[in-house]
Amino acid sequence: MSTRVYVPRDAAALALGADAVASLLSQSGDVEMVRTGSRGLFWLEPMVEVATPEGRIAYGPVTVADISGLLDAGTLSGGAHPLRLGRPEDLPFLAKQTRLTFARCGIVDPLSLDDYRAHGGLKGLARAREIGPAATIEVVTQSGLRGRGGAGFPTGIKWKSAADAAGERKYIVCNADEGDSGTYADRMLMEGDPFVLIEGMAIAGFAVGATKGYVYTRSEYPHAIATFNAALDIARREGVLAEGFDIEQRVGAGAYICGEETSLLDSLEGKRGQVRAKPPLPVHKGLFGAPTVINNLVSLASVPVILDKGAEFYRDIGMGRSRGTMPIQLAGNLKYAGLFECGFGITLGELVNDIGGGTRTGRPVRAVQVGGPLGAYFPPALFDTPFDYEAFAAKDGLIGHGGVVVFDDTVDMARQARFAMEFCAAESCGKCTPCRIGSVRGMEVIDRIVAGDKLEANLELLRDLCHTMKFGSLCALGGFIPYPVMSALEHWPEDFRTMRREAAE
């Protein structure tokens, strides 16, 4: 009998050589190769798993050079080897998680609908069709699910507004633009469990009476794009999508602002991705003027398990007004960087030190940016902050899409602040002056501060500028860029005062 061997095809695993490992293993005797997504333990990728009578046994990180040794050690039947990790579910990093949205990622063949069904897939959609659109929306509302794209708006309420809006055509748009550095949950799901997004969109379409769904995926994700299109073909062929609701994928073109929902809609319509003034809200007048639900990919992918297990099951996890689980993406300079899905409430310190194991470089942690380029930098002094929308907002931060980027003590925070301004200048849609011009001024002012030129006056100018951007910008690009800048200045003022030439003032 042949041995079933699992090797990830996730882009991060590929970047670490998974293809070569898989092809060599395929040629090694009687192997049935299954390419999966990643379990998200990236320091162990490529992580190879073999099916044994005791369950799947993992080895990692496996390189091509390890393979003959692994085979000699009898690893195809789970044999001992220094790279043997045991059962993946028993690894502390996985054992501590509550995997709901990511329940199948890294386990199933992403393009096998049979696998998907065998692991609980399509039960949520079946349940929705059983209870009807109104009750489906009620379950989503009761679950407490809030948007995982950044703003944290209650998903059920958004769906209800779109369902109530009048319109012959309605759209479901999945925001898979995932522009925040430090985030990769959308990518992992598209590559590792694409059917869960299709199921989530099918439920959303059914609930609000939509006629078409669009997935807007960033062009930087070629593997996700290919896997998702392949999954769509299968879903259509196998009749997963109901009559009258099709899904189409569109590819972005490298503009960060197109992750902002109204800019994304303009981009889908074929225009420059410029932010629209609200109102009207997309639920009333969205894509091509029709009522539109636009949700982040993780929001949509969390709906099937909610429908399947019930609102209470989901709502019972979490803290405060942040209910359910969040797939937190540990990134940057961390020893154990990876996907950690757990209930809200875990502290930043637990994530960085206990789960993430501190820095990869072995140096002390100095700063942690949470929530992407618009998110604040947190010093270790704030590590007791629980992962929760309100708790982060209370510290002038945001959880955004759940990215946690760790920096060691070599980081120059004035440089990070300047980068925030530079990023804003490069990615501004150009609609408002504080964002378009203010960000360029911001770079110049930080340059002068770092050069020690009229230090106090320029620091004051920077604060003023941030204030103007915060309150005079139409969207959160210009409006939130002050957070990384001001947090850097507040917590690491010494980095801005390296060249004290106050005599010049």
Binding site: A12, S181, Y256, R272, Q416
Partner: protein
């Protein structure tokens, strides 16, 4: 290594026609043109305008808004380096500086021999295995000067 066709009006017209009927056709058309020709050739702009009932200025405005679209075909190889925060935390800035020095080009530049075009990217979603890069579409993890030197040595 990607190979691109030289601009031909007939091929351009074919591509535009193949996508023009869908809703919001602009980006699909621009991507298809760039896949074929390695860039969005200036000659295609008036053709797109006609097909989509837009002005040339509007089409130009759209093309220039998006960072992805090139006005010239790239070199024989395209090296894209991530410049975003997660990769910065692992020294991406220094790696990028090394590559620019070695290739003798700045961002978006192509080496004099036409071998390599260097492009900045803000995030590949490889934030757990940075500094990340992509060479001719193949993702690369934990890049450093030496690894990139080896890759560039082979990219001719």
């Amino acid at each position: 290594m990607a190979t691109y066709e030289a601009w031909s009006e007939a091929r351009g017209a074919e591509i535009i026609a193949a996508h023009a009927d869908q809703q919001g056709a602009t980006l699909p058309i621009l991507h298809a043109l760039q896949d074929m020709f390695g860039c969005v050739p200036a000659q295609a702009v008036p053709m797109i305008a006609r097909a989509l009932n837009l002005t040339r200025a509007e089409v130009h405005g759209i093309v220039s808004f998006y960072h992805d679209f090139r006005s010239e075909p790239p070199g024989r190889h395209v090296l894209r380096l991530c410049r975003a925060e997660a990769c910065q935390s692992l020294g991406a800035d220094a790696v990028a500086a090394h590559v620019r020095r070695r290739l003798g080009v700045d961002w978006h530049g192509t080496t004099a021999d036409g071998a390599v075009t260097l492009e900045p990217v803000f995030c590949f979603g490889l934030c757990a295995v940075g500094p990340a890069a992509m060479l001719d579409g193949a993702p690369l993890a934990r890049m450093d000067d030496a690894k990139l030197d080896t890759l560039l040595e082979r990219a001719r």
